[in-house]
Amino acid sequence: MNIAQLLNQLPGAVAQGLIWGIMAIGVYITFRILNIADLTVDGSFATGGAAAAILITSGVNPWLATLAAFLIGLLAGLVTGVFHTSMGIPAILAGILTQLALYSVNLRIQGIGTDLGSRANVPLSINKYKNMLVSLRNVGSFILENPIWLMLFITLVLIGLMYWFFGTEFGCGLRAVGANQQMARAQGINTGLADIVGLMISNGLVAFSGALMAQYQGFSDVSMGRGAIVIGLAAVIIGEVIFGRLFRNFALKMLAVTLGAIIYYLVIQVVLWLGLNTDDLKLLTALVVALFLAMPYWKSRIRTRKRKGGPAHG
């Protein structure tokens, strides 16, 4: 266990955390603001990667390709939103259905231009596509090409945009829908539309993040989004636990999510360095997230026990 080896890994962990942090902001929007657990993200993350990869390999500018990934993510969210609101399917199931469907869609997107018409993996070598936005090759250096700088910039711009959006009349209405549907309807807010728009923006961000991830790691893969929802939740929860008391402002809360994602990847690097097998990572992540999700429930049970015999409501 060489400490220099660990230190070498840390910049990469920060860059990954920043990329996943954008996806985690998407999860924050559905999970915390809309109060929906949206499982579409496992699929839409890979959709973003697939779309960007296929566009970049066919010569499209990587900025445009990444933007296109965002737009396709909006569509994925639209599908889940329509499943949920127009077809009355519970949100969690609607997300699972879209996620499953996206697996086929992603294979097809990646297969564009191939003989089979379907492909599990698209290589994106930085040697071949030199103008890609981010690449892990430069992550150890202090030069401007280090992906951390661009990721920081993109993250701050996105947080600014989200802060603006959720402060507008429409965005406030969206927050009201997540806080209290009945109240929102009584104030004339179309709750179905709000759910759809929220799911779209969330999945747009997730796909955007997937597009950056594909460029960063140098390939896109159909299974690159597996467990994305859990990583997103982990980032949200870590952010809340560490910065919850400090950060009250909405923009700072989103920043906390980003920091949560970075901390998540730093911790992962440390436990891997300590000798954990990569194959056991998802098990560990799932257990840790389950534990943190249980906290508020346990806390409230302890509180009611202390108050036994009190009024049922009041």
Partner: protein, 269 residues
């Protein structure tokens, strides 16, 4: 303005869970007409259909039969969020009418835009803030100094007062009050009721108020209707109300319905 009635309910019928063992006829043909400025109190036993009638007007569910005219327009098939443009609502549960995780001024700003399209303008303006501060100050609860506080931190009475303010911030054509003091302690209930009366009078509102308190039902408003088994069985005008005691009212109920009034929350004094 045109001289059509403010609200017309025509033969409203609703059966929940039809053709199952849970089948329940909640509205069995409700006819009711409210004139502009009417303040009608609604009483009745358990399951008489009082709240169901209010929810039918608000559009929480669609009725099986009948029509709802508000200010002359047919709103029978309008979705709930579109009807909200014309309605102010206060619910029994103080938690229902406000968004706990948003602060006081944000809640007011949401109510201020009831019935308007919500675009990408900023959600709250400095000019509005001054208005909210003034309105909150009139509640005399000190909320004008806590406009940035989350509503979840307020007491039930404070939340109900805020909900009332929100329901009347943009003048509604009809104010729907669904036992809005039932979950409050007597002193707070009294305060909220006084505020209700004040707001209705000041803004010359048309209102429907369901109450479990017979005395309040007689003391407030210019009309009292009594419901039983999904129908209106008694409709008292202002003069009739003045000469009526709670005992008279109970006797009337027994005469009209053929049974004793039973409501486990009913307050007779």
């Amino acid at each position: 303005m045109a001289d059509h009635p403010m609200l017309v309910l025509r033969d409203l019928r609703k059966t929940f869970n039809p053709d199952t063992v849970m089948e329940k006829t909640a509205l069995a043909g409700v006819d009711l007409t409210l004139n502009r400025g009417d303040f009608v109190t609604v009483i009745g036993g358990n399951g008489a259909g009082k709240s169901t009638m209010l929810n039918a007007i608000a559009g929480t569910f669609s009725v099986d039969n009948g029509g709802i005219l508000l200010g002359g327009r047919d709103i029978t098939h309008l979705p709930e969020h579109r009807r909200a443009a014309f309605l102010g609502r206060v619910f029994q549960d103080p938690m229902t009418g406000t968004a706990a995780s948003m602060n006081i001024e944000e809640n007011l700003a949401l109510a201020f835009r009831r019935g308007q399209s919500r675009g990408l303008r900023w959600g709250i303006s400095a000019k509005e803030r001054a208005l909210y501060r003034e309105k909150l100050a009139s509640l005399d609860l000190g909320l004008e100094n806590r406009m940035g506080s989350k509503v979840g931190l307020l007491s039930g009475g404070q939340r109900q007062a805020l909900t009332l303010l929100m329901a009347t911030l943009k003048q509604p054509e009809l104010l729907l009050l669904d036992e809005h003091t039932a979950a409050l302690d007597p002193k707070t209930a009294e305060k909220v009721l006084r505020l209700t009366r004040h707001l209705i009078r000041e803004n010359k509102l048309t209102a429907l108020m369901v109450t479990h308190n017979m005395k309040d039902a007689l003391a407030l408003g210019n009309r009292t209707v009594m419901m039983h088994e999904g129908r209106i069985i008694l409709d008292l005008n202002e003069e009739q109300k003045q000469h009526m005691t709670v005992e008279d009212l109970l006797a009337q109920f027994e005469k009209e319905s053929g049974r004793e009034l039973s409501n486990d929350r009913m307050l007779l004094t």
